[in-house]
């Protein structure tokens, strides 16, 4: 049988999909009840969730917000579960620790400005000029939190300017490598010996500043965020440098990187924190008063950057060698090819691991309670020690868990957003 020649004369218009092919019914059919075993698993899961909520919700939903002590909750026949009064009563402490009341606007402002500072880094649609604020923020943030004279941070910034100027002047006289080394040296000397005395002298002339707050007053969520954010911001660049060092052709650099990474990864964070709180004082010259929170930040950063380095190394290893070769063949030098070709791709591959490390670091900040810092977990013990709240446990843990979850969940959502945005192929 031969087929008739055929030419279409009119095009078909679009029809709506048959019912049951879109919407909730279709979604449930595909995702929950696609087969018998899938249906059984779905039903069991739904039952477990309902059971958990059934047990947990009545405990949570208690009219106990106004209670002023645990005794009040126990004596009130209407309250049969959680005694939320403790959160209400100690909210300020859970947020700020013992940070002076009249100065608490400073950490709040620092937090809001931090959001402004990270915004252009997280979202590339924002104006690029905002990055200048991000670069200045670390000094501003430190000043707001610890207070003191404005000249301190200004002189530290001046150190960068001095470094750049020295480099500019010297690079024409001595070689470029020598110029870099010398300018770094001059900058460090300035920070070590210049900043303190000059800032002191200047504040004698023009005493501009805000009240100093000792870091022993830091506490609560504010302390967790201070340690967590500094650790995150510092560990990524250090991790990148370590990962590159580990891949380096230069034996000594490679050895140092591998040694550092393997040593730090082999030591529990708690050990490092004890080192920070106790041992460092033995090594530092007597009389130096090195801020405890700062020491903890350094230790947390060191710890996280070793993990970061390994995560990024994974990304580097996943890149095909062709990418390195193409960059070389075009005449890009090592730093150019790392900055323009290799790192953007390696970091993109490592996003889940990097964010995982960030989340881990943020949660690990609660370990500082063991060396006596009053982060939210550390505060629990001191709150339990008061006669009003002696014996309270779950309410505080639940609340702290929720606070941490808000932060870590945002990070994980952002990582998914970023992965999606950076997808360039189909």
């Amino acid at each position: 049988m031969t087929q008739e020649p055929y030419v279409r004369t009119e095009m078909l218009s679009e029809q709506p999909a048959p019912s049951g092919q879109t919407g909730i019914v279709k979604w449930m059919r595909v995702n929950l009840f696609s087969s018998i075993s899938n249906s059984i698993i779905s039903l069991l899961t739904i039952l477990v969730v309902i059971f958990a909520l059934y047990e947990f919700l009545p405990w949570m939903l208690q009219p106990s917000w106004g209670a002023e002590s645990l005794r009040e909750c126990l004596n009130d026949p209407n309250i049969t579960g959680a005694c939320w009064g403790v959160i209400n009563d100690r909210f300020n402490q859970l947020m700020f620790g013992f940070y002076p009341h009249e100065s608490q606007w400073r950490p709040l402002l620092a937090f809001v400005l931090m959001l402004v500072a990270v915004a252009p880094v997280l979202f590339d649609k924002l104006p690029r000029k905002m990055v200048w604020f991000s670069a200045l923020y670390p000094f501003l943030g430190v000043w707001l939190l610890w207070g003191g004279t404005i000249w301190g941070p200004l002189m530290v910034i001046a150190g960068f300017v001095i470094g750049v100027v020295v480099h500019k002047v010297l690079s024409n006289i001595v070689g470029s490598l020598a110029a870099i080394i010398l300018s770094v040296l001059v900058t460090i000397l300035w920070w070590l010996y210049g900043v303190g005395s000059i800032a002191g002298a200047l504040s004698g002339i023009a005493p501009i500043g805000i009240a100093e707050v000792s870091s022993s007053d830091f506490g609560g969520l504010m302390l967790s965020i201070t340690i967590g954010v500094s650790g995150i911001a510092l560990s990524l660049p250090i991790g990148i440098v370590l990962a590159l060092g580990r891949q380096s052709d230069m034996f000594v650099i490679k050895l140092l990187s591998v040694g550092f990474i393997e040593f730090i990864r082999g030591v529990p964070l708690i050990t490092l924190l004890f080192t920070a709180s106790v041992l460092l004082n033995f090594f530092l010259p007597p009389g130096t008063n090195f801020d405890l929170v700062l020491r903890v930040i350094i230790m947390v950063t060191i710890f996280a950057s070793a993990y970061m380095a390994e995560v990024i190394r994974g990304g580097l290893a996943a890149l095909p060698t062709g990418q390195y070769e193409a960059a070389d063949a075009l005449g890009l030098d090592y730093w150019q090819s790392m900055q323009l070709i290799i790192m953007p791709q390696a970091l993109k591959i490592s996003i889940p691991g990097i964010v995982g490390t960030f989340i881990g670091l943020f949660k690990d900040t609660t370990l500082v309670s063991i060396i006596g810092l009053l982060d939210p977990v550390g505060l629990i013990v001191s709150i339990q020690g008061t006669s009003d709240w002696n014996g309270i446990v779950w309410e505080l843990y639940t609340f702290i868990a929720l606070m941490f979850w808000v932060f870590t969940f945002s990070m994980s959502r952002y990582s998914m957003y970023l992965e999606n945005k950076l997808k360039t192929s189909h």
Binding site: L330, L332, P344, L422, H426
Partner: protein
């Protein structure tokens, strides 16, 4: 080399000058204990188009990768464009910016658009202003006939288009020498032609080219010289007509019968 056969006559526009572009003398290379390249001697004049062929593993890729120092040779000399390849990084970067290279698997940068792929090296290595670099890039993308893809990402292009972008990317550096390592062997038949056309056009403009390829039609059409390698050595080299019609060595005959035989 005489230039009297019909092949060269047909493409008399392709002048070969006496100026030496690449000079390789007594070059040897080892991978660990394995002697990959043995006593390679090769002189390439400016404007010459050389096709390198040979069985798999004979060292063709290694040879051309030594020319821009993607691989390091251990003995002998390689002089490219008057600059000797040594461990001096300045020389290496200078040579790499003068020598373009296209790979079997294109090696485009997947995180950059086609245009950014093409402007990257001119901007960072040659310090060309961005606007000018983009004009140059568009010029070469037009030349390889895909200007309309400039804002797409490599992952959105077909293999043949990607390889043409790779050629354009190299050309944007205005290289004096182009190296091709099996540029068509990862492509489907219908895409091979479009890439070869681009390469033929390049040859007609007098580019100095060394191509590792098994496209014998291409060799006959544009090459001044065909080099046959086996076991890390140059076994035979001749003008295309003579090479294909009258091979001298037994190995060459065997190889040709294998690739042309069916």
């Amino acid at each position: 080399m005489s230039q009297t056969n019909e092949n060269a006559a047909a493409s008399s526009a392709m002048d070969v000058s006496d100026e030496v572009a690449i000079q390789i003398t007594n070059m040897n290379k080892w991978y660990g204990d394995f002697h990959v390249l043995k006593d390679i001697n090769l002189t390439v004049n400016r404007g010459e188009r050389i096709v390198v062929c040979g069985p798999s593993g004979s060292g063709k890729s290694t040879l051309i990768r030594c020319i821009n120092r993607l691989e390091e040779h251990q003995k002998g000399d390689i002089i490219v464009d008057g600059t000797e390849l040594s461990s001096d990084l300045k020389n290496i970067d200078k040579i790499r910016s003068e020598v373009g290279m296209c790979f079997q698997h294109f090696n485009l940068f997947p995180h950059l658009t086609i245009l950014e792929n093409c402007t990257l090296a001119p901007i960072w290595v040659r310090k060309t202003p961005k606007k000018e670099a983009e004009e140059i890039a568009m010029h070469f993308l037009e030349k390889v006939k895909i200007p309309e893809q400039a804002l797409k990402y490599p992952g959105q292009l077909s293999g043949g288009q990607q390889q043409r972008v790779a050629i354009a990317r190299s050309l944007c550096m205005k290289p004096r020498i182009m190296l091709f390592d099996e540029p068509t062997s990862a492509l489907d038949p219908e895409m091979i032609a479009e890439v070869l056309d681009t390469m033929i056009e390049l040859a007609e403009e007098g580019m100095t080219m060394i191509c590792v390829t098994h496209e014998m039609g291409f060799a006959r059409k544009v090459a001044n010289r065909v080099i046959f390698m086996d076991a890390g050595q140059i076994v035979e080299q001749n003008e295309p007509e003579a090479f294909f019609n009258n091979p001298q060595s037994e190995r060459t005959k065997l190889f040709l019968s294998q690739i042309l035989g069916h």
